[in-house]
C-alpha cells in the first residue's frame, strides 16, 4: 500500500513539474480560463473553454499579441464554488495571469469576480447573463453577452409586436437564478406593453413530468396567446414535447436556455412554433460566423455544441483586442482598454461598452424552430 502510494505521489510530482521543462521564445501572456469542465455545468462550460482555446490558437498562429504568445491557464472549477474561488486565486497569485475569462453562470461569477476585483485583475465573463453582475462586483468585471433584461425585453416585444400576443402563460424553473431572473424581466416588459400574465406556474429543474402544470394550462379559458417557458437547456426539449403532445399549439417563447439542439431532437416533429432569444445564429451567412463554425469543426471534429462556444471565443478575442489597443499586458491597462471597447466585431455580435457600463449593448437574435428546423427570425437592437 505504502509503496503504491509513494509511487503514485512520485508520478504526480514528475507530471506536475513537466511543463517547467519547456522553453519558450518570448514570455507568454497568461490568461486565465475559468470554466467548470466537470460537474453539472460542464455541458455548457466545456464548449466555452473549447471556444476560448480556439481563439487563443488562432491568435498565436497569427503571431501572438505584442509579439508574445498567449497561454491559457485553464483550471477546472468542478461546478463547485469553493473550487472555483480557489482556482481564480491560484490563477492570480500563482500563475500571475493578467486577465481571466470564463464562467457561464452567475452563481460562480459572483464568487469568482470579487477575488479578481480585489486583486485588480480584469475578469470577463463569457456567458453569465445577470445584468447587474458588473455593478455588483466592480469596475474590473466585464460581460461578453447581453444581460437577461435585454433578451427578455426583446422576447416580450417580439411576442407583443410581432406575434400580437395579449395574454401569456409562464412556466418557470425555480431552481436557478438565471431562469427566475429571465422570467421576472419578461413579465415586467410584457405587462408594461399592455400584456397580461394569466398564470405563472413553477417547477424544479430535474422534473420529468409537467402534466400537472400543463393540465392547469389547459384548464384556462380563454387560452393564453403565448407560452413563456423559462428553462435551462436540459428541460427545453421535454417541456416543448409535453406541451405539444397535450395538443396545445400556441407559440412557445424562451431565452437562451432554449438554445440547444435538444428541442428538435427531443420534441421532433412536435418542435414547431418555438421562438427563443440567443447570442448568435450559427446559420448566419456572415463570414465571421461561418469562419468560426468552420474552424471549430476543424479543431474539435464537431460543430459548436451551443452558443457558449461562440461566447468563449468572443471573450478571448475581446481580451486580445484590449491588450492590442492598450499596447501592454498590464492588468490595469487591459481593464482601461476593455472599458473603452467600441464596435468590437464578435461572432455573437458587436460589443461596445458605454462609459461606466460594462454590460455590452448587443443585438439579440430571435430564432424560430419549425418542424425541427432552426432558423433566424430577426435581430433586436436595444435602444
Amino acid at each position: 500500500m505504502k509503496r503504491i502510494l509513494s509511487a503514485l505521489l512520485l508520478v504526480c510530482l514528475v507530471l506536475s513539474l513537466a511543463p517547467f521543462g519547456q522553453t519558450l521564445a518570448a514570455e507568454p501572456i497568461k490568461i486565465g480560463g475559468m470554466y467548470n469542465v466537470t460537474g453539472g455545468m460542464s455541458s455548457i462550460d466545456a464548449p466555452g473553454l473549447n471556444g476560448m482555446k480556439l481563439a487563443a490558437k488562432q491568435i498565436n498562429e497569427a503571431g501572438g499579441l505584442l509579439g508574445r504568445p498567449v497561454e491559457i491557464v485553464a483550471i477546472d472549477g468542478k461546478t463547485d464554488q469553493t473550487a472555483v474561488t480557489n482556482a481564480v486565486s491560484e490563477m492570480i497569485n500563482v500563475h500571475k495571469v493578467v486577465a481571466i475569462g470564463g464562467l457561464n453562470d452567475s452563481t460562480y461569477a459572483l464568487a469568482a469576480g470579487p477575488i479578481a476585483q480585489a486583486a485588480g485583475i480584469p475578469f470577463v465573463t463569457a456567458g453569465a447573463t445577470l445584468p447587474t453582475l458588473p455593478e455588483q462586483i466592480g469596475d474590473y468585471f466585464f460581460m461578453t453577452p447581453f444581460g437577461d433584461d435585454a433578451q427578455a425585453y426583446a422576447v416580450a416585444e417580439f411576442a407583443v409586436k410581432d406575434l400580437g400576443a395579449k395574454t401569456c402563460w409562464m412556466l418557470v424553473d425555480q431552481a436557478y437564478d438565471f431562469t427566475t431572473a429571465l422570467a421576472a424581466f419578461f413579465k415586467e416588459r410584457f405587462t408594461a406593453l399592455g400584456g397580461e400574465i394569466v398564470l405563472e406556474d413553477k417547477y424544479q429543474s430535474g422534473d420529468t413530468d409537467f402534466s400537472a402544470q400543463i393540465a392547469r394550462l389547459k384548464a384556462l379559458s380563454p387560452q393564453p396567446d403565448v407560452l413563456f417557458v423559462s428553462a435551462i437547456p436540459n428541460e427545453a426539449g421535454i417541456t416543448t414535447k409535453q406541451i405539444r403532445e397535450a395538443g396545445l399549439t400556441q407559440p412557445i417563447l424562451s431565452g437562451d436556455g432554449f438554445d440547444t439542439p435538444l428541442i428538435a431532437e427531443v420534441a421532433g416533429e412536435n418542435a414547431d412554433e418555438v421562438y427563443y432569444s440567443t447570442h448568435a445564429a450559427l446559420d448566419n451567412p456572415d463570414p465571421k460566423v461561418q469562419n468560426f463554425v468552420k474552424a471549430y469543426k476543424e479543431e474539435y471534429g464537431r460543430a459548436p455544441e451551443n452558443a457558449f462556444a461562440a461566447l468563449g471565443y468572443d471573450m478571448m478575442m475581446l481580451i486580445a483586442d484590449a491588450i492590442k489597443r492598450a499596447g501592454s499586458a498590464e492588468p490595469k491597462a487591459i481593464r482601461d482598454a476593455l472599458a473603452e471597447t467600441k464596435d468590437f466585431q464578435g461572432v455573437t455580435g458587436v460589443i461596445s461598452y458605454e462609459p461606466g457600463k460594462r454590460v455590452p449593448k448587443k443585438s439579440v437574435t430571435i430564432i424560430k424552430v419549425q418542424d425541427g428546423v432552426y432558423s433566424f427570425v430577426k435581430e433586436f437592437t436595444p435602444e
Binding site: 491560484e90 459572483l110 464568487a111 455588483q136
Partner: protein, 342 residues
Amino acid sequence: MSKNALFYLALLTGLVFLAQSMLNDYYQRILSVVFINIILTVSLNLTNGFVGDFSLGHAAFMSIGAYLSAVLTLPPASKASMMPQLPMWLSQLEVPFVLATILGGLLAALVAAVVGIPVLRLRGHYLAVATLGLMVIVRVVAINWTAVTRGAKGINGLPAFTNLWWVFGWALVTVYVIWRLVNSSYGRAMIAIREDATAAAARGVNVTAHRMLAFCVGAFFAGIAGALWGHLITAITPHSFSFLITFNVVVMLVVGGMGSISGSILGATVMTLVPEFLRHVETNLSLGGHPLYGLSQIIIAVTITLVMIFRRQGLLGGREVQLPRLFDRQRALPRARVDTAG
C-alpha cells in the same frame, strides 16, 4: 493548561502567523478551506463517530449558519437594495462577524434540537435518510423564502471577513470543545451508546439526551463552518449546500477514521489538499491534445476505494495520535529508557 498544550498552541499560532504573513492569497485560501473542513469533520465525528448516529444533515446546518450570518453582517445599504422585503429591524441591523457566526451556529443548533426530537428516534440508515430529508427541506425553504434568502439568486457581496485567524480560531475551539466533551462523562456515555444502546440504557445512560446533545453540538459547529464558508466565498445560493458537501465531509471523516478527533483532522487536511494538488496534475496533463479533466476525481475515487480496502477503519482507525510530550519529564523519561533498551 499544561505546559505541553501551551507549547503546541504557541507553535500552531506561530505557524499560522508565518502562513498569514508569508503565503499568498491562494495558499491562505486553501489553508482556510482546510480549517473549515476540519471544523465540519470534527463536528460530524461527534454524531457519526462517537454516538454512532449516521447523520447526512451537515450541509443543512451549514446552510442555516451561512444564511443567518449573511443576513446579519451585510451592510444595511446593500440589504435595502437586495432584500427590500426584510423587516425593518433586521434590515437596519449590522452585527459584528463573530457574533453573527455564533448566532448562525446557535440557530443551526436550535433547528437541530427541534428536528432532533422526532428524527433521533430513528437509527442507522433510517436516520441517514431522515437527515438527508432535512437537507432537502432546508434547500427548498432557501429557494422559496425569497424575502430573506432571495431564492435561487442567493445572497452575494458578503463582506470577506473570513481569514486564517478566524478559521484557525474556530477550528481550535471546535477541536477543544469536542475533545473535552468526548473525554468527559458525556463522551463516555456517547461511546457506550455507540457500542450498545440497550446496554447503555440499562446502565442508566439517558440515551435520547446524549444523542440530542451530540446532534446539537455537531449542528452548532456546522453552522459556524457555514458562516465562515459564506464569508470566505462571499456568495451563497441554495445550491451551495448540496449533497456534494455532505458527502465530501463524510468521506473526510471515514478516510481519517471515525471516532478519532485526530483522524478527522488528518482526513479533512488530506482530502482537501490532495484534490487541490491533483488539479495541478490534471491541468498540466493532456492526451493527444485532449485535456483530461475529470481525471483527478477518478484518481481520488480509486484512492478512497484502496484506502477503504486496505485500511477499512480509516487512516487512524479510531485511535488518537498523541503529540510527543516535551515538558513532562516524569513521563517522558521512562518511555525513552524502554526505547533504548529495546
